[in-house]
Symmetry: C2
Subunit: 342 residues, 2 copies
């Protein structure tokens, strides 16, 4: 061990990997939301020109990866690794998107925490010298997720007030080695989370299931690094939504810590409350696309100096919910800083 591991779980990256380029791709609802103009590309058609919703989600990932690589003036085939995940059974959006790339593929499953998991593992791979250029990508699609987790869309089921709206979106980041002076953002710390389960069984209240995981990982990160919320320009959970965000602030307030001045949530940022999304956005593509459309540009141009992406995932399946299991959750965090040259 060479001092990279701090405290309970946080990893300090000695030669902070750079985020060289990124791309966010979304659907029509994402375009109509507050961040719409910040996406690199939006599709007005739910099918994205494909024959099935699942193929559409594959397309979202492919476009995001292709655009991010293109910004580095690299063909996708020049990447050393793709680290990818999504919400579907057997992560098919990611596997089918990686098909044909000729790039080593690491399939991940962290539900809506996937973008942070892929960034964190990718950053370790680069810092450790195991790869020079990796792509971290995650996606979700409202229609594939509804089919996977809930009801046929044509059934027109009512959504509860605590329900969240799965983003139709993908975000991809290209990570490069510390020596890359052209990259405007770097990853300084990562923290892999533990599985937390406080007994929530309502699959339409994922914010409540995930808030304890976000609290646990952020508290660990603060403690391991000796930092406080005010040391960051922003702490972005993804995607607790309205309900989970309130619970997270409440959990911290019990420790006499007020994170509310710097906290926001990707699920709250992606959509406007007028868009009928109830408690906010969700899905692997939510944190991924908000990071790539909205947050990384602010680090790149110096509007933010240091932020945390703490993406949360609810780790249930339709089967586990039907069997009455409670919903375990996980939150992985990455600390991102402005400036590649420092």
């Amino acid at each position: 061990m060479n001092g990279k591991r701090m405290g309970m779980a946080t990893i300090r990256l000695e030669r902070p990997p750079r985020v060289r380029a990124w791309a966010a791709v979304g659907g029509k609802k994402e375009k109509d939301g507050p961040l719409g103009a910040e996406f690199d590309h939006v599709f007005s058609d739910t099918m994205c020109g494909e024959k099935t919703w699942e193929q559409a989600e594959v397309h979202l990932q492919k476009v995001a990866v292709g655009m991010a690589a293109n910004k580095c003036k690299l063909p996708v085939s020049a990447l050393d690794m793709i680290l990818a995940g999504d919400l579907l059974g057997q992560c098919v959006a990611s596997s089918y998107a990686a098909r044909g790339t000729q790039v080593p593929y690491l399939g991940l499953y962290g539900a809506c925490s996937t973008m942070a998991e892929s960034l964190a593992i990718g950053a370790c791979m680069v810092d450790g010298g195991f790869a020079q250029r990796v792509c971290a990508v995650a996606s979700s699609h409202f229609c594939t997720a509804e089919r996977q987790y809930r009801f046929p869309l044509a059934y027109g089921g009512q959504r509860t007030p605590t329900a969240q709206w799965t983003a139709t979106a993908a975000g991809a980041c290209i990570l490069t080695a510390a020596a890359d002076d052209c990259a405007p953002v770097r990853i300084t710390h990562v923290c892999f989370g533990k599985v937390c389960d406080l007994g929530i069984t309502d699959a339409n209240n994922m914010g409540a299931a995930m808030a304890p995981a976000a609290y646990d990982t952020l508290r660990t990160l603060f403690s391991d690094t000796g930092t406080y919320p005010e040391d960051y320009d922003g702490i972005f959970t993804g995607d607790l939504g309205q309900v989970g965000s309130r619970l997270l602030c409440e959990l911290f307030s019990r420790d006499h810590i007020d994170i509310s001045p710097v906290h926001d949530d990707c699920g709250k940022l992606l959509f406007d409350s007028k868009q009928d999304v109830h408690a906010g956005g969700s899905g692997c593509g939510c944190a991924a696309s908000v990071l790539c459309a909205h947050l990384l540009p602010r680090l790149a141009d110096g509007r933010m100096k240091r932020m945390i992406l703490a993406a949360t995932g609810a780790l249930m399946s339709p089967t586990s919910v039907q069997q009455g299991e409670s919903i375990p959750a996980v939150c992985h965090a990455v600390v991102l800083e402005s400036g590649g040259k420092r």
Copy 2:
């Protein structure tokens, strides 16, 4: 880049992480197979004392992780990371098994290649100094897999001759840093595979879908390291079964390379042909348990000096198969050597 990356994709581990301990847990059919006596624990009851098959698979993972940690005289909570995966939608066997461990959890999906993926990422984490003690684990369960991928068991569907039998098993390895002189096995190289798809659409012929991926990764590993099949005491694919193994040998024979003297397959080793398993065993738990029950002990006592585990995964889902998609596959490889002290 500091020379860890060799050739196209192979990673040389500079301070080869050790495999300190391992455990294999299985069901009744695995007990009755040729490796039955080598398992650390077998359950005669499909439910493993739980209420559902899914909970039974969770139990298999928990017992495997607990036994492996126990052999290191460590509580599970002393691990730095658990890297885990399984075949189920949203990887619930792994997530629920990690619940309550208080250990940072990295969820992976590589279908039947998962054990190699978890070993490979875990080895990078240890070699990079990001963790000191990690657990790589994978599981499958015949009944959960049939429910997930095929038909209700009570339906009694006929299985085709090329079909494989999902292992009810889990395997767990504890990886430690190179300085651990007590560990009998080390990981010297890892190779993450690309997604290969030659157009197979028959979900009952996974061996054929996966053979090209095994060929691609093994060929890359040989080329990157300048080694030949005869440089290894064994090359174990997991789980091509009878059909895929024949195809793999055929693919290599086109390059005038005969891997048959050293090649075997975890899916062929786990069961006897008299056990009505058709083309052989499969599932994340197949390669994981054959590695832990049968292969690691042979490295530990010197019966083998050097071997490759090249675990293959078919990356389709029930939805993608129903939509007529062909089956993409991936193969991740790890090179294991006898002797922690060298």
